[in-house]
């Protein structure tokens, strides 16, 4: 292994971190954009290299600064987080070209460079949470990504963005506090901060201190659930997504909640699941009702929303419900469905939010009632919206279908056919809210707002089309999505300590 390959886990975080530092010294928005694009483009290369290494050679353990774990900080890359690293970095890299025109349009000139600096910090934080094997280090990265995302949201043109960012700041801080309290409890009973090490000692500790261990899980669960916007802890999300700059919305929707879900998977499957029998813990019991409530309530809220960004934000809450449902099922097909939806939903929602950003850029509004006929004046943008929307509904042949199919099979395998019906019934609501937008875009007369609109410049259009294409492509070639997700699920489930006769 060459010297560079050995340092890949470190580089995954160090490149964007240093990039952010340099970006802080740039004044011109365009130059900062170029720099951020360059830096972002490097991250998926590292991530893919890591994924290939892990796929062929098994987990990688990287000791930050040469200090061995559990004292030092360990970066531990296995299939699960290599997959999430690829997802986050790849989607960001695809979106970056889009940022220039969109950001220039929505953010004042002197603040643009600052925006890119914050974006790089946020990316650093997200990649850091994903790659680290240390519970407290994850907290630090969580704060980095959260603080920078508050800034990203507050930069929205609408003054309500400030309130939304503030709301998110308060809720996000509460979430982080819960998380760190949970980590503290685990540290108290195990004396360790390293995920793998905690998992090793938790079984014994649980025998002595059953309540702190359980309380730790509760704190971690609530803290992370706030971050991933698990219903009903999602209240920060619709406003934050609605008023943030378009690029920030697309970026955060595609990546931030996904990383939080990753952390939840880690806590449930790599810490608690390894040490204790998950069937004795109230994880599924909590996740089932909340996931199903998210799938239905948030979807119905989306139907009644006329601001399209808020509509998609509620839809995100609903889609997160599918992912957590897959986690709750805890069987091969179900978990694969949850993890693959993590991937697919990032592509789909990324495409949808980019399309809205393009409409905002050209038509100046994303209020549904003002967008009559936009399908005729912005044909490619709206076509991309429709395609990604079909994937969101789970039309067969699209990526969204693959997720739903695995979830349904997972539910049937678990003998829970009512859940299979709830999955399909709730995706019908997606048909209603996407269909409503399509109806206005294509079958209403062209409104004054969109009369002179046209498809956005290529720099914006291409990332949008790429993501829309990907949201169909991964419905047909699923090696990278469902293939990896299946193996991840297998690894996670095989690592579980299964109590009793099961």
């Amino acid at each position: 292994m060459s010297a560079l390959t050995a340092q890949l886990p470190g580089l995954q975080v160090v490149i964007p971190l240093l990039g952010a530092v340099v970006a802080a010294f740039i004044r011109r928005g365009t130059i900062a954009w170029g720099w951020a694009t360059l830096i972002t483009a490097m991250t998926p290369i590292v991530a893919f290299a890591l994924l290939i290494q892990v796929w062929t050679g098994g987990p990688i353990s990287y000791h930050m600064g040469g200090w061995p774990p559990p004292i030092g900080i360990e970066y531990r890359v296995d299939l699960l987080n290599a997959f999430v690293l690829v997802l986050v970095s790849l989607v960001s890299a695809i979106m970056m070209p889009y940022a220039r025109r969109s950001v220039a349009h929505e953010i004042d000139g002197d603040k643009q460079a600052w925006f890119y600096c914050m974006y790089l910090l946020c990316l650093t934080g997200l990649l850091g949470i994903t790659i680290t094997g240390d519970a407290f280090n994850a907290f630090v990265f969580m704060e980095i990504s959260s603080l920078s995302s508050y800034v990203l949201i507050a930069m929205g043109r609408d003054r309500r963005a400030l309130v939304a960012a503030y709301q998110y700041l308060i809720i996000g801080t509460i979430g982080a506090t819960f998380y760190v309290v949970g980590v503290g409890l685990l540290y108290l009973v195990t004396g360790s901060l390293n995920f793998a090490d905690i998992a090793l000692r938790l079984g014994e500790a649980s025998a002595v201190y059953p309540r702190p261990v359980l309380a730790g899980l509760a704190f971690l669960f609530v803290g992370i659930s706030l971050k991933l916007a698990l219903f009903p802890l999602h209240v920060w999300l619709p406003n934050a997504y609605a008023y943030a700059p378009s690029f920030a919305t697309a970026f955060l929707a595609a990546t931030a909640t996904k990383v939080a879900i990753y952390l939840l998977l880690r806590v449930i499957f790599s810490i608690y699941g390894v040490a204790l029998d998950l069937k004795t813990l109230p994880v599924s019991a909590v996740l089932y009702p909340l996931s199903i409530a998210a799938m239905f309530i948030a979807s119905i809220l989306a139907v009644y929303e006329t601001n399209l960004k808020r509509m998609l934000a509620y839809s995100s809450v609903a889609q997160i419900g599918y992912i957590t449902l897959g986690i709750a099922l805890m069987n091969q097909a179900g978990l694969t469905g949850g993890i693959v939806h993590l991937f697919n939903h990032a592509l789909i929602k990324g495409a949808l939010f980019l399309a809205l950003g393009a409409i905002l850029y050209r038509a100046g509004t994303i209020k549904l009632e003002q967008l009559g006929g936009v399908g005729r004046t912005m044909p490619l943008t709206c076509a991309a919206f429709v395609v990604a929307g079909m994937s969101l509904m789970g039309v067969p042949g699209t990526a969204g279908f693959i997720s739903k199919y695995y979830l349904i099979v997972g539910a049937l395998n678990a003998g829970m056919w009512p859940i299979a019906f709830l999955i399909v019934a709730s995706s019908l609501i997606a048909l209603v809210y996407i269909g409503r937008a399509v109806e206005v875009a294509y079958f209403r007369p062209v409104s004054s707002a969109v009369a002179h609109a046209k498809d956005p410049p290529l720099l914006m259009l291409v990332p949008l089309l790429v993501l829309a294409f990907a949201s169909v492509y991964f419905g047909i070639d699923t090696e990278l999505s469902a293939g990896v997700a299946g193996r991840v699920a297998e690894t996670l489930l095989s690592g579980l300590k299964v109590g009793g006769a099961n």
Binding site: V395, P396, K404, A420, V424, G435, E439, F443, G483
Partner: protein, 495 residues
Amino acid sequence: MLAFAPESLVLAALTIPLLGALVIPLFHSAPNARESVTLITAGALALTVWSLLPHVLAGARPAAIDLAVVPGLNIAFQVEPLGLLFALVAASLWLVTSVYSIGYMRGNNEPRQTSFYICFAVALWATMGIAFAKNLFTLFIFYEILTLSTYPLVAHKANGEAIRAGRIYLLILIGTSMVLLLPAIAWTYVLAGTLDFTPGGILGGKATPLVLCVLLALFAFGIGKAALMPLHFWLPAAMVAPTPVSALLHAVAVVKAGVFTILKVIVYIFGIETLAYAGSGTWLVYAAGFTLIAASLVALRKDNLKARLAYSTVSQLSYVILAAAILAPISAVGAAMHIAAHAVSKITLFFAAGSIYTAAHKTEISELAGIGRRMPWTMGAFTIGAISMIGLPPTAGFLGKWFMLSGAAQTGQWLPVAIIVASTLLNAAYFLPIIYTAFFEREPAAHAVGADAAHDHGEAPLPIVIALTFTAAATVGLFLFPDGLLTLAKLMVGG
């Protein structure tokens, strides 16, 4: 064409309509070139599908593409007799409808004609995908594409009524397919471990009679395109679409895709013997029988011509379901024959309705007094179509009914026999008055001669007349020369 390998013909049939859909928009501003593209595409497709016939009759089952999406879910195609029959009907009638569309769309100055032709081509592509699907998953993909591509055609007029109809259309068709059909498919996979269409079925010995019964219900109602009551009302609503759409899609491609899928599921997924042995299909006879009679009764009361035709379609579709539910091989042959027979006859009737609308701007049956003398070709064709609907010789409709009745009589099921006889009377009751009105009633003399220009009309534009004459001839022709289709249908149950 025989020089081509059958495998490449399958591939061509699955590519040509899509290519057409991609090329049509290039000629957006040149309508003549645009329509030529449609005609060439339709012609090429019909030729391709017909070239497959000798191969399949000779026993070949050409396959194309086999792409594993995830383990167990493959996108794969294979031509079998029933699928070929459906593809033959759809592809041939597309060519005829394309000729008709040109006359209709121009005659009525319809807006957005380019997107109309694109969606039409995509819909035909989806139909080919359904016809040639090797497994349930592939069929399901194209089933949904067919719904999505025909939605813009239903909402084409973009007024309140059309948009509402579009909503109903999407909600019912996507809704049933997602909420009922998809779980049924997933459940089938969990039970059988495969989704391939296999002669004799894949569920034999894999499930209890109760499970089979529930599964059959999920399929029967999940395939909303078959318009089994109470999930039929999307079809009358869809009649707001331009007539070529009603004619080809909502009398042939879409609805036939529905009953075709049901037939395929019963024959190749459940297996006729498995179902008959388990007795899980009996209720379907009642459901189909109810739809047959009820829809006919509704049709009796409709004065709007297209609405009456739509309810007639709902009723006729249930013949196919009923025939399949009798669970005798010979009645399954009848079901397949009826798919073809109803297609050519119903498209003739819709062509006639559109012809009347184009020439006389009339939509209600009560307005048609004496129109037979002004539009002899149109109403002549209409009469042939109606006779076929009733099921009298010398028309194609007779054949299907004959086989269905034989199957029912063979297995001693007298209820289906009674239903078929009763519905035949009802068919006569709602079609014969139209013919009587058109030919034997006098045109109202309310308008003085020459006072109303719109009142004075002759036949519809030539492309329309050509198209409906052709399909009327085909309705008789199918009765006189049924051998090809009959052989295909018999091959289906023969293995």
